[in-house]
Amino acid sequence: MPARLSILIAEDNAADRMLLSTIVSRQGHRSLTASNGMEAVALFEQERPQLVLMDALMPVMDGFEAARRIKQMAGEELVPIIFLTSLTEGEALVRCLEAGGDDFLAKPYNRVILEAKINAMDRLRRLQDTVLQQRDLIAQHNEYLLNEQRVAKAVFDKVAHSGCLAAPNIRYLQSPYALFNGDLLLAAFKPSGGMHVLLGDFTGHGLPAAIGAMPLAEVFYGMTAKGYSLTEILREINAKLKRILPLGVFCCATLLNISFQRRVVEVWNGGLPDGYLLRANGAERVPLVSRHLPLGVLAPAAFNDRYEVFPLELGDRVFLLSDGVLEACNQQGELFGERRLHRVFSANRQPAQLFAEIQQALLNFRGELQDDVSLVEVSMVEEGSLSRGPLVFTGSGQNSPLDWSASFEFRGETLRRFNPLPFLLQLLLEVEGLRPQGGALYSVLAELYSNALEHGVLGLDSSLKCDAEGFAEYYLQRSTRLAQLREGYVRFHLQLVPESTGGRLTVRVEDSGSGFDGQAIVEQQLRVDRLCGRGLALVRQLSERCTWPEDGRGVSVEFSWLAGA
């Protein structure tokens, strides 16, 4: 049973009007009648009927003009108009449709056909209604979605940009809504002055791809600021993503740990396309290959945190990209691919132009701009050439402990797995007066610890590091020996004493090794090639006093501060 409609009948012949009205009423509809076009338009405006039967030729205003006006008033809503006409020549019928008519009915009227046409038009009308409702609903949902994305992006930007992407040695390119392509770029200074950089690419698009970015960024920034190492951060991110993301959602990522002081970069790549180490002299392009499954795939116990270490020279650049570059697709369905990327690299003369050249190559290839491309490049610069904000503290510093001492001994098993530096740093930074020197303090602790561990406990010879091969060998030996470590210790003795003007911290680090010839090292370090560590020199430079006993077993450093400084 079709719905009851209100139907406007515009017909100048009173008998026909009566006949139509009767048919329509018998069908169960409500009829409204007008005797010319002008009346029909007025009645339409007043009553808003759902369907119109319109005579073509009428006095005052004909059906064509009335149809045009009614259609205009109806707007997006479909008000079907069926022309009633004794006109038979094709041209006149075409005029009916051009004026906005949806169908026509030839005189004399046939009740059955009229009923069928009204029903058919009613179906169309309802279809249009449904389409409009759905369109509005979709538009509304889309508006909600965009608004949610704006809010999410604003919140996320606060988190993501708390890092150091603006540092002068970083260049990057990302679409403003990269987050909703699943792309993520983070960079942060380490307490020691080096830098962690992460380029990530979550599976999927939209909010599901963006949702994992927040916890990842929090872990990345939180742990970097506290002095955790690359592998610890990777493990934590992997475990967290594995725990919170649904199965099948994961994050392809490359994490870089750049040390300006040691001039090395540590690289872990799980699932991102090859990054590249671009040498300042243009001599070679070292691929930084994905060696691992993406983050969030493996259970913590199965996760592999093995990274590669590369020496860097001033001006060397580490270049990372998301798969949007390589998977850009042209009209013929070909992918941009690595070969084309290498051609861009080879043709590049001005490093500063590289990103623009890659974009141009993509544009030429695809014929339109690619909006899901993320590129980042980090350069090796002189230690100390980057200015950075102070360390961020969580404590209020109201109850600063000033007079205490503590000793820690970290033994074999622990040295293999545990990094004591964040723990010690957090403890020491409870002392408010030390906070302004937090960075230097961390660097000194880190140097003393790695010297104690690598040379003292593991017995590694730093002179190995005097060329690139030896350098790789050194890190290979380091991880092998560390994995086999059963015995040995590193001790930290911390002593804090208040002084009349402030306070003083003394840190003594000892290890189970056979000691070292401090004087010889200092002399040697004035000469050695840059690949060798200059750890002790740095410690001397950053701390107020640095001493070691004759037998070279242990090093003492001191830091002091003035109250209120």
Binding site: L247, G248, F250, G271, L272
Partner: protein, 101 residues
């Protein structure tokens, strides 16, 4: 894109054949291919011979299949990967989770 699944005569192995692009659009169809069969095969084969392209969502779907098939004990072979597909699987190091031949 079309996905068909074909059990072996003894019901021990299920072969899923993927034609065309294997991306997010295939999500439901791919799940149906292994969830809507009334048998519990011991081994799975994903035949990528006709697969022209594979994106990271597809990698996620493969992980879902792996979980369905028993997680770390799953026996899944990926067959007939073209060089592009193989490259994507290699970058993600999926050979650690799947047998790629």
């Amino acid at each position: 894109m079309a996905i068909t699944s074909l059990p072996s005569p003894d019901g021990q192995e299920l072969t899923i054949v993927i034609q065309g692009r294997f991306d997010f659009g295939a999500h439901q169809e791919f799940r149906d291919a292994y969830e809507r069969v009334n048998l519990s095969p011991k081994r799975y084969v994903v035949d990528l011979k006709g697969t022209t392209y594979l994106d990271s969502s597809a990698l996620g779907m493969l992980l879902l299949l792996r979980d369905h098939a028993g997680g770390d004990h799953a026996q899944i072979r990926l067959l007939n990967c073209n060089p592009d597909v193989r490259k994507i699987l290699a970058i993600s190091n999926f050979e650690q989770l799947f047998q790629i031949t």
